[in-house]
Point group: C2
Chain length 211, copies 2
DNA sequence: TAGATTGTTAATCGATTAACAATC
DNA sequence: TAGATTGTTAATCGATTAACAATC
């Protein structure tokens, strides 16, 4: 079986996003050419990406938008709901809890944790901030599948260790530090400052050769 | 002059992050091998990346951490401060304003805007939410260089148009929709739901060949 | 059937890595 | 000087794109 380039899953997310919009606009069918143009890709890129997972189109016709969306969501694993907890009830934690787009994609935040006694017990929307001490118990009881690290970098590794001990297999890490986890645990890193730095890199750009 | 791979600037941000931590820990010198290992790269990757911009090391010795950090920050354009405005005073806007890591990297949020009359005039920390009508005036007066789109997808394009009219050249777009801007305007996209989907893709993964 | 567009193979392009001369 | 590590070239690897037979 063909090895799937690491770049594919990000593009699948973009196809999904785009198809959702097109369906809202009433579009029933789309060619790889049209989908590619909307995203600034080549049509062969779109067809190749999809071909790793199956054959979803009709030659001469294109792709049924609803069917293709369904297939892509199945590939991405967002055809089901996921139980998510957030560790760290700071501003980022708050924002994530209220982030509609996660909910719309089936990521349901079912718990929020902190170690700060001043925060524990307070409410954020429907959720009550829980003591980190009770983390493992909660994860077992609520069958949590994904944990989000939204604590300061200094405590990120410690939090990661607790997550791993709890049996959770998937982590989204917002803390700008590399965390070490055992084999079999999947970590996705997201550093909000990186797009800002990419931007200033390009704005400044960039014949810098000072030594 | 050598073309710089598109992947380089992200890694430069990671080198920067790592060097900052190492300096805090008192490390004065580092080899490409050691830096690479910390980030899971090959040492030749590190040396090649740096070589696009100059020769910052000493053969037989390695890199002075302070000096290398300084050079990388100059390359990334974060050796100076940047004036940033946020459009959209929702949860994400709130979180960004209070996000220490942006401040630490020299990204200063100097204004926050919304169109909701209920929000306009309210305070978030030191900032008062300003009417979007006064956006262009504010940008001129405060010499704003970067705008952040933190509004719902439905109004993202309209906001982008206003940003472009204001003369701002750099945009960070948190709204999960592709925005169109004229040549010469730089847009960095960040979709918070993508790492979640990457994660479920891997967790589900993924011999899917259903058709 | 003729026209269109897929799915897939092969060619191209770009990025990473190994290797090594230069040199601290 | 001997040992270490850089900076850079060339080889390898992986991802994108063009091209086209298959087929709706």
């Amino acid at each position: 079986m063909n090895k799937i380039p690491k770049t594919v899953s990000r593009r699948l997310s973009l196809y999904q996003r785009c198809l959702k919009n097109l369906i809202l606009q009433g579009k029933k069918n789309i060619s790889s050419k049209e989908l590619a143009e909307k995203l600034g890709f080549k049509s062969s890129q779109v067809r190749k990406d999809l071909s790793y997972f199956g054959a979803f189109g009709k030659r001469g016709v294109g792709y049924d938008t609803n069917y293709l969306l369904k297939m892509i969501e199945r590939i991405l694993g967002v055809n089901k709901s996921w139980s998510v907890v957030v560790i760290g009830a700071g501003n980022l934690g708050h924002a994530l809890i209220n982030y509609e787009i996660l909910k719309k994609n089936g990521f349901y935040i079912v718990g929020i944790f902190d170690i700060d006694p001043k925060k524990i017990g307070k409410k954020i929307g429907e959720l009550t901030i829980i003591n980190m001490k009770d983390f493992k118990e909660f994860v077992k009881k609520s069958k949590v599948e994904i944990a989000v690290i939204a604590v300061p970098p200094s405590s990120a590794q410690q939090v990661a260790d607790t997550i791993v001990e709890s049996g959770i297999k998937g982590i989204v890490n917002f803390s700008p530090v590399i965390i070490n986890v055992p084999q079999g645990i999947i970590v996705e890193e997201i550093d909000i400052s990186i797009p800002f730095k990419n931007l200033t890199f390009k704005l400044t750009s960039n014949g810098f050769r000072g030594a």
